[in-house]
Symmetry: D3
Subunit: 148 residues, 6 copies
């Protein structure tokens, strides 16, 4: 649903500049994660290859969306760590394995301890019910490889 009553107004607005938002500092690179966990490696490689193909398409709206998406997880009022864990909870409730893996890996790269990942997943389990369990099983396997 469009968020605006008078859409024309929007199209003439200069694109508002983002408030000062900082890229988070990663403790581990994607390469380091890939060396530690085979599950992570396969996920990261498949994703990179599929993304390269999407980028080739050069679709304007997809790019705009990616920019916003990226922006939502930067250091802000809330730490990047917290927002990656929120992304994890949302992904588990909506039951998307790729999204769950992405955010669990990002949180790991930011230095989030396993106990915080598990506690976040507990919120998702309670909110989302047993239908989330197969996804939790799979991310626990990833957590084992990353932190084990």
């Amino acid at each position: 649903m469009s968020a605006t009553e008078h859409p024309a107004a929007h199209s003439h607005l200069p694109e508002q500049h983002a408030p000062e938002r900082k890229e988070p500092t990663f403790v581990f690179t994607e390469r380091q994660v890939s060396e530690k966990s085979e599950l992570a490696r396969r996920f990261i490689e498949t994703r990179a290859s599929l993304n390269a193909n999407v980028e080739k398409a050069n679709n304007f709206l997809v790019k705009r969306f990616s920019n916003i998406d990226h922006n939502a997880y930067l250091e802000g009022t809330l730490p990047a760590k917290t927002k990656e864990l929120m992304g994890l909870v949302a992904s588990a409730c909506l039951r998307c394995d790729d999204c769950i893996f992405y955010h669990a890996i990002q949180a790991y790269r930011l230095g989030v301890p396993r106990s915080e990942q598990e506690e976040s997943l507990n919120v998702a389990l309670v909110v989302g019910g047993s239908i989330t369990v197969p996804h939790l099983r799979r991310v626990y396997e990833l957590l084992e490889e990353l932190y084990g």
Copy 2:
């Protein structure tokens, strides 16, 4: 899930300019719709009042999202009419009354005949099943007021 592998890359990109996209031409104003249908009038008024409050908050990311959202329904490769009907199908499958009303009204304002609205809703009914039926009942009431 973030759509990008190397998020930092994105943050340094200049914001890409939208391709030439045209605002659609509406056959009816929101006021005309409100005069024709009491259901539409209440929806439009409530939405305007809630939106005014959101705009007051002046949240950067919400504004960016609204711009993209608005962009997605402009005249493009596909006519705006078609994309409003796609928004209607998506909203009915995801079962959001407000979103259904919004797109049904936009389609009406663009001159879409009732038969096309119904045929779009049929796709939603088949894809989404009987769980969509209560929503279809309510939008049929709106269609009756708009086209009856």
Copy 3:
């Protein structure tokens, strides 16, 4: 997603006749339910009025869908009671208040005891998680009026 590989084949098939399926025997009429519960009365009346409007539209596909929908809950290999409770579980998991009320009322009309309604809702609560709780609260209010 279309269920058939070669759609043309289907369109030439004579419409298959339904196996012998029996209408269930209701213990209570809708009128009796409406007299017992104010929540049920309002639901039944609103639904009847919205349905009358849908029927006026005389949409072919909606009618075909309604026939199948009706057929799914008839006495069959499984008793109608069991299938209404399945409809209740599905509706609670998919979080549709109207659908929940419909199936809870149908189950009541078929003579299902409250304990079976609650046990069915427990399955939905475990499968669907706490996001179903607001819906369970509302149907417990209905159950109280129906069985209290």
Copy 4:
């Protein structure tokens, strides 16, 4: 939720005949699609094999549902092309890879250009959010094979 207040009424109705609806004209056969794209070939073959097994079961209600499903995408008030793209949007919002592939292939077979597939997917991305992104990545790979 049953769409009808008085279900018995339905069961005595003669099955209403469909309005004149035409099969769409395909530009490409499934075989041609399979020769062009390995992803499409695998999808089409798996689906055909699973469908053969479903058809063996000869379940009355499944067959009835398939007929309606098929009917929803025929040439009607809206062109078959448009309705396949609506099916694509719905499938992307509801995040079903098989359904997305099915409708993207059907749209391709009907001669829909890639730009219209992308613009439809943009509607799904905006409505459905980043949780749809992994599915969009996979269908972009299919689009590349089909149109590349």
Copy 5:
């Protein structure tokens, strides 16, 4: 959403003891199912291996949730068979292949005939629409192996 207004009250309550609930009597062991169906065998083995890893984590809340989950399908006011079929319907509506396979296998192990599994799936198909079809195709393949 928390189900309680005054959460502190809960934390001081002694854990209520479960009413007398009986484990159901299985007609087939998991081993027997695995010998009959290759699809079941792979599912059961993968699940056991992933579960072993989850159990190693020894997460308190996951364990508590598992206990409730187990409890919901015991013999109660409703037979265990019926509740497994309800779990099947819920899983098909929420479109989780693992959950669908789990409940179809449990129902089979309890002696549920194929016709009752199909009739349950019909409720899911009507409630959930064509988006459930790819999942139904896959569980029909399992049913064929189990009952064929």
Copy 6:
């Protein structure tokens, strides 16, 4: 889906005791919130009244679930504030107004500033897409009353 391979094992386990978890310290009582915001007051009162009715039913499984649900939001490895905001994100992605209101109010009662609530909702908006917008509008109205 049951989380356990050998369910019988579970039923003989002594109920594991919860690790030391602390109730969070609220800055505001529900009464104070109700005096500040009319929307909150109506929500809190309706919820209390519906909950009283659920508690009267004294359903064993509902009570067990409530205990777990309560437990998930206690002070733990992650602060209660963070977990309430995670509950907010999950509720917005799953689009449940009651759940959104509940967690926004709980977060407010714990002293979470408005900027953190908005940033959490931004994650939900990006993950969940425009279908969440009508819910965001409504919670922004609540935020205005609470923090305005």
